[in-house]
């Protein structure tokens, strides 16, 4: 995979560009600020080194009552100008960038009816359990008592809605260009769903079901990594994301559906354990 390099990975989702824009803009600003201050700082260090016969010059502090607040503190206030510039930059960044982009990425997950694909991703120590609703479009019942290494989600196969659910471990297949709603859950501890190419990261919290969405824009094979410490096997908790053409995706779904009701085989419940 040539997805990764010394900089940001390739962009493979609709909002990856928006996030990269922010990262690049801020780093440009940071570099500018650092270089300007650095040059000034270096100049001060050389210019004002101790020299015989040159005493330090104090700034004029007008403690007098004449001149008013602004005039008396002009020197001090002038030195706050850089601060004001940084503040204006930050305000612009918040209002024109952070608020709208955050709203679109994190605050407005699509309604399940509007999403092209709905998939449930359940994190556990140390694997990703992925479930598609199957032909009926409904996620069936799952019970914690039924959890077994052959049935990591505890699916109740007697429930007709659950019987056709498609389960895969550590593999997430998505059609390119389609809006996918991912319902993120955790069985045990806090995990984190991170696909670097999607620029998508979200903690999976037990007891909560967190909706998030992605529109993959590039066919390819990506990595789904856990980014939140989840135990001794944290670094081995990874999965693969396959973004396919819609036809390939449907084909794959059909091939998985044909496997049912075979219990999800040995690949499950393990990230190498």
């Amino acid at each position: 995979m040539n997805n990764y390099g010394w900089g940001l990975p390739i962009r493979a989702s609709s909002f990856a560009g928006q996030i990269d824009f922010g990262i690049l803009l801020i780093h440009a600003a940071m570099a500018l600020i650092f270089v300007l201050w650095g040059v000034f700082f270096a100049y001060l260090l050389v210019r004002y080194r101790r020299r015989a016969g040159t005493p330090a010059q104090r700034e004029e502090h007008h403690a007098s009552s004449q001149g008013g607040f602004w005039a008396n503190n002009a020197g001090e206030l002038k030195s706050l100008m850089p601060d004001v510039l940084v503040m204006l930059f930050e305000i612009a960044l918040i209002v024109f960038y952070a608020f709208p982009v955050w709203r679109s990425i994190k605050m407005s997950p699509p309604d399940p009816k509007d999403a092209d694909v709905v998939v449930e991703v359940t994190a556990e120590q140390f694997a990703w359990d992925v479930r598609y609703p199957g032909p009926d479009g409904k996620f069936g019942r799952a019970k914690p008592e039924l959890v077994h290494f052959s049935n990591p989600l505890g699916l109740d196969r007697t429930d007709p809605a659950a019987a056709d659910d498609i389960f895969v471990a550590n593999e997430l297949h998505l059609p390119v260009g389609k809006k996918t709603l991912i319902r993120l859950r955790s069985k045990d501890v806090v995990h984190d769903f991170f696909v670097p190419e999607f620029r998508l990261k979200q903690d999976a919290v037990p007891g909560l079901e967190i909706p998030m969405w992605v529109v993959p824009t590039r066919i390819g094979h990506y990595e789904l990594a856990c980014a939140q410490l989840c135990g001794f096997g944290h670094s081995l908790m990874r999965g693969d994301v396959y973004v396919e053409s819609p036809e390939d995706f449907q084909k794959w779904l059909a091939s998985r559906a044909a496997l049912k009701p075979a219990p999800p085989s040995a690949s499950n419940n393990s990230g190498g354990f």
Partner: protein, 131 residues
């Protein structure tokens, strides 16, 4: 002990009569709050009344027994700042309140208290708990 006029004018001198009056008021309020709970008001009203009475009692203790009434103004100011920071705890509460609707595995305390009837009407119960 101190019957001198000096002591009588001392503003910090403990005022025993006042203490006893507050004592009486506190006991009455305690009985009142228990009595109100016997009325089995609906949750929102019960919580409002219970907290109101508790707040009155706490202010009495703070103002009179802890001498905040007539204390050097700086201590109340310190306390106001502390209360401001304590009020920041509203954010975890707000977070909890926002989160619940999206959470699927809701918590059922009712399992342990079937007699309480909460399980019958969880939806109706909900707003009652907002305080």
């Amino acid at each position: 002990m101190s019957n001198t006029p000096d002591a009588a004018r001392d503003p910090h001198r403990p005022n025993v009569k006042l203490y006893m009056a507050v004592f009486g008021a506190l006991l009455c309020l305690t009985l009142l709050t228990v009595a109100v709970s016997k009325l089995h008001l609906p949750r929102p009203q019960a919580i409002a009344v219970g907290l109101l009475i508790a707040a009155v009692k706490a202010s009495l203790v703070a103002a009179i027994f802890m001498h905040l009434w007539g204390e050097d103004g700086r201590i109340p100011r310190i306390l106001a700042a502390v209360v401001f920071f304590a009020a920041m705890m509203i954010f975890p509460i707000l977070d909890g309140a926002f989160l619940v609707p999206s959470a699927t595995s809701r918590v059922a305390v009712a399992d342990q208290h079937p007699d309480e009837g909460g399980a019958a009407a969880p939806a109706a119960e909900k707003p009652a708990e907002v305080k």
